[in-house]
């Protein structure tokens, strides 16, 4: 842990303040094989057609995030979710590499993705990202209901809005109001792929449960902790790149805090939301009773809940491990795996 903590200077205070994030996640036993399949798929899909794109692809290691959340899934489902994660990160990189795409360009991209969701086929003259999205969508949505499709679509729309928000902060060079950060950051992490997670788990949340605030309390808390951990751990990189969507930088700006105090401020909020996450999960048995869910449905929903419960810890380890998040000052020559438990 010492070497990694040195490379990730903000990790130690985070773990000290949030004990729930300590220790080492379980990992799917065949995660490496899944990673090879994802790379093969991405190359065949044309997502790594030049050396830069190939380096970017290899730096994602999305399978090692998926392998920590879906530790017991079948191998093909692990690959499926790893593909989704990889695609989402590539989309994020697409926006990062465009200095300031216009709102029209953003809308054009999402309109074409929504075309896939609405019509189950790729749009005309589809590019590699759109073809890959179509393939993933068709496989994932095959056995899912119209209600689930509606939720996925709605979450994809929210991701469109958060992309507009991120690009706007970049374009204007100005921080958004601090109160805006939580809701935008949690959907900027492409929370729609957790809808895909239901398909990975071979289940679908009952509509009566998915629409409840009790469920969104769980999902929102999990996403908040995950993205805020990412913001703390990638702070130096984001500051170097003037990424004003980073919650720590926003807190520093709006509250007049020193860098250390801003980190501490966000870590305090991570601790509080971790408590909220636990509380939201513990509220589920009473919700199941109120909805009169069958025992089978309650167990299936609990699998999805467990994926959300694991998300922050999995995100933390993946952020510390993946080459794409490596600190600027890192001297490590390879994307080192999470070290053995201390």
């Amino acid at each position: 842990m010492t070497a990694l903590a040195d490379a990730r200077p903000h990790l130690r205070p985070l773990l000290q303040r949030v004990p729930a994030l300590r220790g080492r996640c379980r990992m799917h036993p065949r995660v490496d094989a899944a990673g090879q399949q994802v790379l093969c798929w991405a190359r065949q899909a044309g997502l790594a057609d030049d050396p830069k794109a190939s380096r970017r692809l290899h730096a994602i290691d999305g399978h090692r995030m998926a392998g920590r959340v879906f530790t017991d899934s079948s191998d093909d489902k692990l690959v499926q979710f790893s593909q989704w994660l990889t695609w989402v990160v590539l989309l994020d990189d697409h926006w990062d590499e465009r200095s300031c795409p216009t709102p029209q360009e953003i809308d054009h991209t999402y309109t074409r993705l929504l075309h896939v969701v609405d019509h189950d086929r790729e749009p005309a003259h589809a590019d590699p990202m759109e073809r890959a999205f179509t393939q993933l969508w068709q496989v994932t949505s095959a056995d899912m209901s119209p209600a689930w499709r509606g939720r996925f679509r709605a979450h994809l729309e929210l991701n469109r809005q958060s992309t507009h928000w991120e690009i706007r902060t970049r374009r204007t060079g100005q921080f958004s109001p601090l109160a805006d950060y939580p809701r935008h950051r949690r959907v900027a992490s492409a929370s729609f792929i957790f809808d895909a997670g239901e398909a990975v788990l071979g289940t679908e949340l009952p509509a009566s449960l998915a629409c409840l605030p009790a469920w969104s309390d769980l999902a929102d808390a999990a996403n908040d902790v995950a993205v805020w951990c990412n913001d703390v751990l990638t702070l130096d990189k984001d500051e170097h790149e003037a990424d004003l969507s980073n919650y720590v930088l926003a807190a520093q700006h709006h509250l007049g805090l020193s860098p250390a105090a801003a980190i501490s401020w966000v870590i305090d909020r991570i601790a509080a939301r971790t408590t909220d996450l636990r509380r939201a999960a513990r509220a589920l048995p009473a919700v199941y009773r109120r909805l009169d869910l069958s025992h089978g449905s309650a167990r299936a929903a609990s699998k999805v809940a467990c994926a959300y419960l694991a998300l922050p810890h999995a995100t933390l380890e993946w952020t510390c491990e993946a080459a794409r998040y490596r600190p600027l000052s890192s001297s490590t020559s390879q994307a080192g795996a999470w070290p053995a438990r201390e």
């Binding site: 300590r22 379980r26 609990s302 467990c306």
Partner: protein
């Protein structure tokens, strides 16, 4: 060899895993039970306690599947389950190294304040995860709470679980772990 009582208890325990009632259990069913337990107590599967539950349930499934002479992705019928548990935990010596860690892990999660005691509401959450009713839970708790102090120690529950899954004694209190048994 197992007595009629032991067979009865084992057969009923099959139904506590097979809550969708499709007549077979798979690794996925046991993992679903684990998820129900963890989520109900707000325990992350990535955390220390969650990992213990998941790892011990994996070992438990492997033991059950191995003794039923199946590969690890197979479906286990009631007859296979019965034979496997008898071989492993009644005639065999696998209860301490395999079953006990799983029970310990569940009780550690359920003991939310770490005081070594399981309160009625915590016990009910465990029961719910196994598909038992509130009435079953109340009956079981009352039967197991021999000193009537309104709480069960983790040691008492571990002992009761061992009795349930292995004891041939009709008077063993642990027979009532999941509620009353049908009279023969």
């Amino acid at each position: 060899m197992a007595t009629d009582l032991q067979v009865l208890k084992i057969d009923r325990s099959f139904t506590y895993i097979d809550v969708d009632g499709n007549g077979v259990i798979t690794r996925d069913d046991l993992q679903g039970l684990g998820a129900r337990l963890l989520a109900g107590f707000g325990a992350s599967p990535a955390g220390t306690q969650g990992r213990r539950v998941a790892d011990s349930f994996d070992s438990l499934w492997d033991t059950i599947a191995d003794a039923a002479d199946l590969n690890h992705d197979s479906r286990i019928t009631p007859d296979e389950y019965r034979s496997s548990l008898i071989a492993s935990f009644i005639d065999g010596d696998r209860f301490e190294p395999i079953f006990r860690p799983a029970i310990d892990a569940v009780l550690a999660v359920a003991d939310t304040d770490g005081d070594g005691l399981i309160q009625p509401e915590e016990f009910q959450l465990i029961h719910e995860a196994f598909g038992r009713s509130e009435q079953d839970s109340e009956q079981a708790f009352a039967a197991l709470d021999l000193d009537g102090d309104g709480a069960l120690s983790r040691g008492e529950l571990l002992h009761a679980a061992r009795d349930y899954y292995t004891s041939a004694d009709p008077s063993a209190i642990g027979n009532l772990l999941f509620g009353s048994l049908p009279t023969p």
